[in-house]
Symmetry: C2
Subunit: 439 residues, 2 copies
């Protein structure tokens, strides 16, 4: 029985090669942990909803076409349901149900797995994990700066420098004003405006002649767009956001760039996307302000300004690997307790338990196994310290503790052994290792 196409398995290290959809579970956990840690520093709190929602929840925002791209089906209760393709509708549903409960502005984040099923896209992933952070209930550009700062600090936490990544910031409202000023009167409606955003969004990936032709159909000359791209000063809002990020010392990670517009219809203000500087990968993250979306999604029950961004795990993982920033996670344990004499089973188990109670990652042979095989297994599992129980000539049980890194060795009582192990593990030679195994 095979895995479904477009889905990934997450394996322990060493991750098998030769299967492009066998990914690393420990790298995934590193990413989740980093997202969570930085979001919490910013005072964002976690939420989550079901991976399965009523299909209608997605039609409200995206119309009937979205159904083409969803995993959807009719359940046994005759309900039309869908695996969630995005998180914002769930966020709006949850907030609309309970908004009196929370003080505004809300700063919420989630790490949902999202699903898309476009037919005819062989080899494309049909699921990914996406960090979502949103601020709801704050119209001030200070909120725009706060979410962009969060995005930058997440990138920094993964180890990316300003030479690796950039957040390109733009203004949907400036483009809207541009469109309403320059478009032919016949094209001044929502569908013309949406078509225009699509053209600008795809500029960098489309032959210029094609873009020019499409713009002309809306009554807009390429030269007008070019002038806007090159000469427009930042809007008042954008200037406030940039100044704010400057005060935080994060300005080297951002630049104003009107080529960013975001394709979707519902953005209303500042928009932004994060890229690798080399332009090797698709966007790492994207977001912006969507002040009318909560009202739409909540069926008019709630009208709050809002903004946020999403960052998927796929491009991010590729970029982390490409820049050599994946943490070394080959060590599964810190200590291996060898068992060379079956009669010393009991004190060995005692020590195993003591060490684990102290938070140390420990393994030991579960059944009879030759000494050299135990030793090999300890090395393969990344153990730094080996402990062997021994019967001293006087009959007393002693623990022999060996540090494979510093090559220290000591014999001590069972009682003393835990302390020795903890001291050695805490020594600087190994500072990075326990933290990676035991977060």
């Amino acid at each position: 029985m095979e895995r479904l196409p477009g889905f990934r398995d997450f394996y322990p290290e060493p991750v098998p090669e030769g299967d492009a959809l066998a990914w690393s579970a420990s790298l995934r956990e590193h990413i989740f942990r980093t997202w969570r840690r930085v979001a919490q520093r910013y005072g964002f709190v976690e939420y989550d909803g079901p991976p399965l929602e009523p299909l209608g929840l997605y039609k409200v925002k995206s119309g009937d076409e979205i159904v083409q791209q969803l995993y959807h089906f009719v359940d046994k209760g005759a309900r039309e349901v869908a695996l969630r393709p995005e998180m914002t509708p769930t966020l709006a549903r949850m907030i609309a149900a309970q908004f009196r409960q929370y003080k505004k502005p809300l700063k919420w984040f989630a790490i949902p797995q999202l699903f898309r099923y476009e037919r005819q896209q062989k080899g494309r992933l049909r699921e990914h994990f996406q960090f979502n952070a949103d601020i709801v209930g704050e119209p001030d550009p200070g909120a725009d700066a706060e979410v962009i700062a969060l995005l930058v600090d997440i990138l920094r936490a993964f180890g990316f420098s300003p030479a690796d990544v950039v957040v390109r910031i733009s203004s949907r409202s400036a483009w809207q004003e541009f469109y309403r000023r320059h478009a032919a009167s016949s094209a001044k409606d929502a569908s013309g405006e949406y078509a225009f955003y699509q053209i600008i969004d795809k500029l960098e990936r489309t032959p210029l002649d094609e873009s020019k032709k499409k713009l002309a159909a809306l009554g807009i000359a390429w030269e007008q767009v070019e002038a806007f791209l090159q000469e427009s000063p930042p809007t008042v809002e954008l200037a406030a956001v940039i100044e704010n990020l400057h005060a935080r010392g994060l300005a080297s990670y951002v630049q104003t760039d009107y080529r960013i517009i975001r394709g979707l219809a519902y953005y209303t203000g500042v928009v932004f996307e994060a890229f690798d500087r080399q332009g090797q990968f698709r966007a790492i993250a994207g977001g912006g302000r969507y002040d009318h979306l909560i009202r739409l999604l909540s069926g008019g029950r709630l009208d709050l300004p809002a903004l946020g961004f999403g960052m998927g795990d796929v491009v991010l993982t590729e970029l982390i690997r490409a820049r050599g920033l994946a943490p070394n996670s080959s060590a599964r344990i810190q200590v291996f307790c060898l068992l060379e004499n079956k009669a010393l089973d009991k004190p060995t188990l005692q020590l195993v338990q003591q060490l684990r109670d102290a938070g140390v990652a420990v393994d030991h042979p579960l059944g009879p196994e030759k000494s050299d095989k135990q030793f090999r297994r300890a090395r393969e599992a990344g153990a730094r310290i080996l402990v062997t129980m021994e019967q001293a000539p006087d009959g007393m049980v002693q623990a022999k503790v060996r540090d494979l890194l510093t090559r220290q060795a000591i014999s001590c009582t069972l009682h003393e052994a835990t302390g020795v192990v903890l001291r050695w593990l805490a020594s600087p030679e190994n500072a990075a290792q326990p933290a990676q195994i035991l977060p």
Copy 2:
């Protein structure tokens, strides 16, 4: 648009009351983190598979009836697919695909969300999260002891004492032997044996007369069962497991109890279930040895002894709450930087960034807000420390740092403020708080 019946939303604190399916996201994260931490101490490594699998994967083990209890549908590629109802088939699929890659025994864990759709079960949850830990490739009872020790240590990590919980250990093989000795020859087949396991599994929840009647139909007298329950000594295997747990100092959490048998057909050796001692809740966890299942699930490609257990989040959460063991998670931040003078926006943002870079959870007003409202928000968010920038008479900018817990206050330079905050947060009065917010 409403949430689907049987699904939960996970809300930030304070979790709204009055909606039985609005659960706490931070308590969920506490549970996941505890599962992960203890498993890693035991040298278990994480894996995960897709939440959607081919329907056939579940029929192999459980027959066609399982389909009645699944969320299943036909996808756009005409594949029969199902939301995973359990993790073991995925584990077997993943191991069968890559078993050469890993050294035996494997110690793997996962925290999947699982789905069941039984019609006519209004009010029942249709999803839950389940910690799964399995050891594959080790026949020795030392492996059985290791997974039971892991289960006990997870319960200990949540704060449960031997007075709160007990792991009842039994032997499926002993019951199998009993059945083969005592059953009527006409009932000595797989279906009779399975029926017998079901009767024993449901003994405590079934009127005795009914159980007696069902046993008689298999040629077994109640007195034989009763004698076995009361008088049978532990099997050799069970004795080895108990002795092993005794050496670890965990014996007070376990007891031999032949009333445990596990309903499912595929167990082959030691089986166990964890309960609250008061008998208030359903089983907290259950598992055992299933030495032939990997062969079955892998279509004969792989034949390895295996064992493991599952622990769901629902009963566990109820028990944690009932015993008052949920961590206090009302504090969303540690520090709030007030902004009383718009001209001091820049140094305030500088300090916010410095503190966050140091790992501190900080919030600040995102837009103009009155002082008293800022102060109220800081308190509501659980901030222990308040910082306000002030312009000293000589024009210098100073930071006023206030500790709401110790009532200390100090004025210092912006440069010194981060150090002051870190020292105060590290002071014992607050030792527990940062750890809860920032794991």
